[in-house]
């Protein structure tokens, strides 16, 4: 196994001393020993100084077990040995220094590599946690949005429930007296006929003086009008019940056109005389839906349209079926929706009306209901003026 040389390698002479320093040593030793001195490497070739002449002796420079080099000089062997010990001392110090510094370097490099690995790992885990935090943040926002929506739906459901209960209560209370009023009116009609039969019994001058011909005729007319009025009240009550759908709180197949018609009947009473309501309803397939909730949504949109047109104008209700959707459009001839308002039109508690004029929930509730049915709702100003709200419900 070959590895890069470590701190524990064997040093050669060249690693421990430069030829220049060795030359300097040779010069100094030559002055002491009185003869030219050479430093030889481990193989015996001249490393520094002058090549030894004839009769020279050698003294080993041994750091561990074997010499890394020799001193050579034609002088006294003992003196040269002493000189070699001094030179060895210097070389040994260099060797120790090299070993320690190389070891230190090796250790530092290993530590650094380890630190870098740890750093890398930390960075990776930081990135992971950052990502996690982002995901969590998005999840929290989504949850908050869902809670918001649910809260509005709950509010709406409660409102609907109370309206429904009220409507059911009112309808019940009205239907009873309406029943006997209707029945009494029929009886009264019969009575009037009986009174008319008494005409011949009464002296003609008295009959004439009391203008009973007119009274009897008008009486019958009054009763007929009253019966019509009662029938109308009965229809309104029926529409109110149908609108609130208190009888059908669950998802069921419903005829949207029928719903829209009864809705129209409900708001017809609220409209100012100058406003025209028109409907262009195309045949629709039945839709699985919460009909009471959808009615509320359409009512909110219609009420907005009525408020937009003010005292005079037209509100048009249109329905049509595409292959996959039921489309309901409500157009008005009002001022349309300003561009700066459009982005917020479905936001909760956003209202353009003064204090007490609106809750800012009407369209929000409508949107939530439509979304609950998997549909879409859009609002826009028509090119010819006025606003158009389009609801699309998937079949």
């Amino acid at each position: 196994m070959s590895v890069e040389p470590g701190f524990d390698r064997e040093f050669v002479l060249g690693e421990l001393i430069t030829p220049r320093d060795a030359d300097e040593i040779c010069t100094q030793l030559a002055a002491v020993l009185g003869q030219p001195v050479a430093v030889l490497d481990a193989a015996g070739t001249v490393f520094a100084g002058n090549a030894p002449g004839a009769g020279s002796v050698q003294a080993p420079l041994t750091l561990e077990l074997e010499p890394v080099g020799f001193l050579a000089c034609a002088c006294d062997a003992v003196a040269l040995k002493g000189a070699a010990r001094v030179v060895r001392w210097g070389l040994l110090s260099r060797a120790r220094f090299r070993m320690v510094s190389d070891l230190h370097l090796e250790a530092v490099r290993a530590d650094y590599a380890k630190l870098q690995q740890q750093n890398e790992a930390l960075r990776a885990s930081e990135a992971k946690y950052r990502e996690l935090a982002e995901i969590l943040d998005a999840k929290v926002k989504e949850q908050v949005r869902i809670i918001d929506e649910r809260q509005r739906q709950l509010y709406q459901a409660e409102r609907l429930a109370s309206i429904g209960q009220l409507a059911a209560g009112v309808a019940h209370e009205i239907n009873n007296p309406l029943g006997f009023v209707n029945s009494n009116l029929s009886t009264a009609e019969r009575y009037v006929a009986q009174f008319a039969a008494l005409r011949d019994m009464v002296p003609a001058e008295k009959w004439k003086a009391a203008d009973l011909d007119f009274v009897l005729e008008d009486f019958a007319e009054l009763l007929a009008d009253s019966q019509q009025g009662v029938a109308r009240i009965a229809r309104i009550v029926k529409d109110l019940k149908g609108f609130s759908s208190v009888d059908q709180p669950d998802v069921q197949l419903a005829d949207i056109n029928g719903q829209l018609e009864s809705l129209f009947a409900v708001i017809a009473g609220q409209k100012p005389p100058g406003v025209t309501l028109t409907s262009e309803l195309s045949p629709l397939p039945p839709l699985m839906c919460l009909s009471g909730h959808l009615n509320q949504a359409f009512l909110n949109i219609l009420q907005n349209a009525l408020q937009a047109v003010g005292e005079s104008g037209t509100v048009t209700l249109r329905s049509l079926a595409t292959g996959s959707h039921i489309v309901v459009q409500i157009d008005d001839t009002g001022p349309g929706i300003p561009d700066e308002v459009l982005p917020y039109i479905f936001d909760p508690f956003y209202t353009t009306r003064g204090v007490g004029g609106g809750t800012g929930l009407g369209l929000t509730v409508a949107r939530d209901i439509v979304l609950t049915h998997g549909g879409t709702i859009t609002a826009a100003t028509r090119p010819e003026g006025g606003a158009r709200v389009t609801v699309e419900l998937p079949l």
Binding site: E64, L65, R96, L103
Partner: protein, 217 residues
């Protein structure tokens, strides 16, 4: 793997004394230096110390010439035992051909021994050495002290381990040579075939150990 320099006719084994701080690793080398009568014996090189504790390493070179003319050299290193010097310890351990684990026999040192041995195992892994193949001897040192684990207790604890156990009092030189000799046997057994110690260089296990110890055993 021992470093074989064919040109220079030299075979060098790096042997490392490992173990917890102040367990007697340096003392082992000092005693070996005095006791071993190997043909070649260098000086004990002690690098910087601090309060009598090794900061880098100690190095004792020993050697002899095989009948084949090959120079067999041993370079005995100690590691710094203190936990903080792990980087240095790991660097010294790298490229080791054999390890002596010097444990402290005192009961209070059991945990330190365990941690140090765990550190040895981890560092061997990091420097790419296989503990199952590396010659390893466990020495329980400081047998002269009171409150030590008895030999039976130590043997019981190491009953499942494959490594030879030696008991020593390094301060008095007792067991130091035996530890080294045991490691030499492990080294010979581990590398003889591959390096043709017996076949080419005329070194049996006995002559190998005897030459390294220089008849001191």
């Amino acid at each position: 793997m021992p470093e074989l320099d064919r040109d220079a006719g030299r075979l060098t084994f790096k042997l490392v004394y490992y173990g917890p701080a102040q367990g007697g690793k340096t003392t082992n080398l000092m005693q070996l230096h005095d006791l071993v009568g190997a043909e070649m014996k260098g000086e004990l090189m002690t690098l910087e110390t601090q309060h009598d504790r090794t900061l880098f390493f100690d190095l004792l070179p020993l050697g002899f010439r095989a009948p084949s003319g090959l120079t067999i050299r041993f370079r005995l290193f100690t590691v710094p035992g203190q936990v903080a010097h792990d980087g240095t310890r790991k660097a010294v351990l790298s490229r080791a051909d054999g390890v002596v684990f010097v444990a402290d026999s005192q009961r209070t040192e059991s945990i330190n021994n365990g941690e140090s041995f765990q550190n040895l195992v981890e560092n061997l892994g990091r420097v790419g050495l296989d503990i199952d193949r590396l010659p390893l001897v466990v020495q329980f040192n400081k047998r002269d002290l009171p409150a030590i684990l008895s030999e039976d207790e130590v043997r019981e604890r190491y009953a499942g381990a494959p490594w030879p156990l030696v008991f020593a009092t390094a301060l008095r030189g007792e067991g130091v040579l035996q530890t080294f000799a045991t490691l030499l046997r492990g080294v010979w057994q581990g590398y003889a075939q591959e390096l043709e110690l017996d076949s080419t260089h005329g070194l049996t296990e006995e002559t190998f150990v005897a030459a390294a110890l220089g008849g001191a055993a």
